[in-house]
């Protein structure tokens, strides 16, 4: 009981703080989109101005980060903020190594989460999930899975020869670990290739049978 008495107020506080944080982080985005919908007021609202400034700032940060990937976002934002957002001046200061380390109290705004990017992120996540699902659902065939295309392409007679040569060897247990491993792989590959050859022959036989049947049927029609 005592635990619950402590937990409920603290839970309320946690929820309150989370709510405020979410409101703080997403307020501008929500407000502007809410304002835009009734829209058509002509002039730019303060929210829109702020959004534009944010976009410009993010673009500047991105440009600098592309040039200097080693400089972290916080330093760039600090420098931009201190020198009026002049991209060129900041670039020069980074080049000269004259950037200052931002004070601990400096809290840079979080990376943008504009509706476009979140939509894109959601879309890509959905695509990833879909591809994952597809991967799970559609398995590659055995030839692809075990990389047997080359072996399959080699002449069947040659293959039979190696199979015959390998047959007495594959039965045994080698004391060498690598050899064991490669023998196991060989047996596995052979099993798949044999199955594939048999199936090919079967399909070919079926086809000729079908062709013969349809041929005679066509002949009958004529």
């Amino acid at each position: 009981m005592a635990e619950e008495e402590i937990n409920i107020p603290s839970l309320v506080i946690v929820l309150l703080v989370t709510g405020l944080a979410v409101r703080y982080f997403f307020f501008s985005g929500n407000a502007s989109s809410a304002n835009r919908q009734p829209g058509g007021t002509g002039g730019a609202t303060p929210e829109e101005l702020q959004r534009r400034r944010e976009r410009e700032r993010e673009a500047a940060v991105e440009t600098i980060q592309q040039m200097f990937p080693q400089v972290d976002r916080r330093t760039i934002l600090w420098d931009l903020q201190r020198h009026g957002g002049n991209l060129q001046a900041t670039t020069e200061r980074i080049l000269a190594g004259r950037t200052e380390t931002p004070p601990i109290t400096f809290q840079p705004p979080p990376p943008p989460s504009s509706p476009e990017t979140t939509a894109a992120a959601q879309q890509s996540a959905a695509a990833a999930a879909a591809s994952k699902y597809a991967e799970k659902k559609v398995h590659p065939d055995l030839i692809t899975r075990y990389n047997l295309r080359d072996k399959l392409a080699s002449a069947p007679s040659e293959d039979a020869g190696t199979a015959a040569a390998g047959a007495p060897k594959t039965g045994g247990w080698s004391s060498n670990r690598e050899e064991r491993q490669s023998l196991l792989r060989k047996r596995r590959d052979q099993m798949i290739i044999e199955a594939r050859r048999k199936m090919e022959a079967k399909i070919a036989a079926e086809k000729t049978a079908a062709a013969a049947a349809s041929g005679s049927a066509a002949a009958g029609d004529n």
Binding site: H139, D141, R145, Q181, R188, A195, R196, M199, I203
Partner: protein, 166 residues
């Protein structure tokens, strides 16, 4: 390198399976660095729609093998009443030892340390030939197998061909 009980036992089984491989079965650890993770190939039994196919599956052994059974999962598409759509195989020999809480299986059908990888693989092979209708893992497959057998067989045959890249 000192091996624990599970690893020693698995190495021994691997050796037996290499020296006397059962017809239509190839099995062994993917890498001997991890003896608890095997991959095996099972040939489709003749006279069944799985005939001509080769089915890869992975076996994962617990650290307390052989006291507890491994899990087995087919790595390709298998449309079978006793194989979950994820590939996981559901047969009595893979169930932990002891009596079945639902009283479907007797203790002798379930896993016990006297069973082996070879017995599992042979059981799975016969499962492919004769599905157990009582506890379906894939309800769709079970229903089709029961009610529209020719459709089921055609579907299995097509997937066998596809799995061989044909």
């Amino acid at each position: 390198m000192s091996l624990n009980v599970a690893q020693r036992r698995l190495l021994q089984e691997y050796r037996a399976l290499t020296n006397n491989p059962p017809e239509g079965i190839t099995a062994g650890p993917i890498s001997e660095d991890d003896l608890l993770h095997w991959e095996c190939l099972i040939q489709g039994p003749e006279g069944t729609p799985f005939e001509g196919g080769v089915f890869p599956a992975e076996l994962k052994f617990p650290n307390d093998y052989p006291h507890m059974p491994p899990t087995m999962k087919f790595l390709g598409d298998i449309f079978h009443p006793n194989v979950y759509p994820s590939g996981l195989v559901c047969i009595s020999i893979l169930h932990p030892p002891g009596d079945d809480p639902n009283h479907y299986e007797t203790a002798s059908e379930r896993w016990s340390p006297i069973q082996s990888v070879e017995k599992i693989l042979l059981s799975v092979m016969s499962m492919l030939a004769e599905p157990n209708d009582e506890s379906p893992a894939n309800v769709e497959a079970a229903k089709m197998w029961r009610e529209k057998r020719s459709e089921y067989e055609a579907r299995v045959k097509a997937s066998v061909r596809a799995s061989l890249g044909l």
